[in-house]
Amino acid sequence: MKSLGNIRRSFAPWTDPDAKPYITFRNVTKRFGDFTAVDDLTLNIYHREFFALLGASGCGKSTLLRMLAGFERPTSGEIILDGQDIAGIPPYKRPVNMMFQSYALFPHMTVESNIGFGLRQDGMPKNEIAERVTQMLKLVKLEKFAKRKPHQLSGGQRQRVALARSLAKRPKVLLLDEPLGALDKKLREETQFELMDLQQELGLTFVVVTHDQEEAMTMADRIAVMSHGKVIQVATPAEIYEAPNSRFVADFIGDVNILDGKVSASGNGKIELAVAEGFTIRTAAGSAPPAGSAAGFAIRPEKMKVTRAAPADASVNAAQGEIWDIGYLGDMTVFYVKLDSGKVVKASMLNAQREVEDPIAYDEKVWVSFGETAGVVLKD
């Protein structure tokens, strides 16, 4: 069985029509004065899912998270958590905890009392609190730092205290607002996997807000790509990358070349697209647009080949051009190829060999080629 992105998932409740969503946003709108932060948004999140809200700043993702936490009330619409409408419930009565972007540790309390704060609010007996705090400290590997104050910790340690504090009450849902934003790159990569392990281990539902697509792709089961208060696409990372539903998503996630044209023939789940660059692309298309309609074609740089000779197989799409620029990134090399029409496309090739005989050089005449299933047809 073929699968997008070379990943097979065993956890996919969103494909099951009988599965009941754990969190539902139904026609939720949030306005701040004249500004609409979230615009008639409907979204389902399932139990035990690691769900990411991805978008540029100001797209409404943080507002959505804050509505789930209870800091903002929706202007209209319902938010349902585990069968209960929570739109009117204040934050201190929700079974949801949040890890803040700034960590929001209480500066006047030790690590221990920071973690135990939520438990004390619930009136848990002292010995049980101590036990749970110890357990949480162990979980985030900070046993030695129990008596320290937040300002005596490094950034990574603070992040773990914040995580332990938000997990201490065993919430039904953990909300994470840019959880790794303040960490340096190496620590961020380590922490991504720690978070994923933790989520698996505790069996919780995580909703994370991020503007970092790599972070979202690595951690999340599904990603909602947002723009201007609307969800543009909700899908697994592989689907978002390999089968973007719109020009916006294709462009937002990763690198992409988009060629515009007109459908010249359509049928059998395949179309022929005469693009403005002066050649015809034969490609598979899920729901093929009718002949004569305008469409775009999106193709990722790594799915194009750059060769000196024209491809032998005539069924392969190919166009001629000239090397415009070359970027050597170590693991791969990016070729910017100027097609005869003047448009520059980006193609990347993995540097699988250390030594290459006669590599392609600047200003050389080359062919870029790609197969029938390498790209996606965009209808908008």
């Binding site: 934050p91 201190y92 929001a104 540790l105 939520g118 609010q121 300002h151 005596q152 910790l153 490094s154």
Partner: protein, 272 residues
């Protein structure tokens, strides 16, 4: 550039003389043997002894301390509340007007504040005395507290309050357990400011005081009109001593905490 040019030395001497010569003179003559305040006749502490036997001055001092403690405390509570309201509810109609109105007493001439309070107390038939002085002091020192606390609140990270609520603390508990401890230094310095303002106020006290509620500054002022005695010098020296000790302790504490904090942060980032 650390040269002591003649110009620099002269500037420093003149500047500090301006500031401290009167005070030094006052302190020195409080230890004078003679009753004449300008003629030195040898060292003595007899004026301090007689000061503590002067019932009028002692009563006035006691009134002053009580007024200062009560008014500073009430002003701090009210001023903090005003500061919270003004920084938190930024979107209500007329906020600009309100914040302007809070600041107005800062620049209002004391004579006007005193007179208007007097007129108010007369109009509502309130007998002037301890209560009216205290109320007046609350009125004028509150805005100072508001200014101090408000400037702290502007740099306050609201997300720690949200975190507290998120973890199950009601708004009241959030304020008591998170907000107040964090802004406590600012509230305390607001309280200290209100206390000192109340201690040395003369104008407003004179307008709003009545029989049996003479404050120390009022008492000193009225005695000076009859002629300065070294007793007054002694009283002032004690006051100066208190203020100086307070300021020194406060600055040492701030400095220490800062140094400690820096050391801790360096240790944390060095990975220990």
């Amino acid at each position: 550039m650390n040269t002591w040019s003649r110009f620099n030395i002269v500037s420093v001497v003149i500047g500090f003389s301006f500031l401290y010569l009167p005070i030094v003179l006052l302190v020195v003559f409080s230890f004078n043997e003679s009753k004449l305040v300008t003629v030195w006749a040898g060292f003595s502490i007899k004026w301090y002894v007689s000061l503590f036997q002067n019932q009028g001055l002692m009563d006035a001092a006691w009134v002053t301390i009580r007024v200062a403690l009560i008014s500073a405390t009430v002003a701090t509570a009210l001023g903090t509340m005003a500061a919270l309201a003004l920084t938190r509810y930024t979107r209500f109609r007329g906020r600009l007007l309100f914040s302007g109105m809070v600041y107005a007493p800062l620049v209002m001439p004391e004579v006007i504040t005193g007179l208007s309070l007097l007129l108010l107390f007369v109009a509502i038939g309130f007998d002037r005395g301890f209560v009216t002085v205290t109320l007046a002091h609350i009125t004028f020192s509150m805005c100072f507290v508001t200014v101090v606390v408000q400037s702290r609140l502007l740099s306050f990270d609201r997300s720690i309050e949200e975190a507290a609520m998120d973890l199950g603390a009601t708004p009241v508990k959030t304020f008591l357990e998170v907000t107040l401890p964090v802004i406590a230094p600012a509230v305390l310095s607001g309280w200290m400011l209100a206390l000192t303002l109340s201690l040395d106020d003369l104008v407003i006290s004179s307008f709003t005081s009545g029989p049996g509620a003479t404050t120390l500054p009022m008492k000193i002022y009225s005695q000076v009109r009859l002629g300065v005695t070294p007793e007054i010098n002694a009283a002032c020296t004690i006051l100066i001593g208190f203020v100086a000790i307070g300021v020194i302790i406060a600055s040492i504490m701030t400095k220490r905490r800062e140094v400690q904090r820096q050391r801790d942060e360096q240790a944390a980032f060095a990975g220990r």
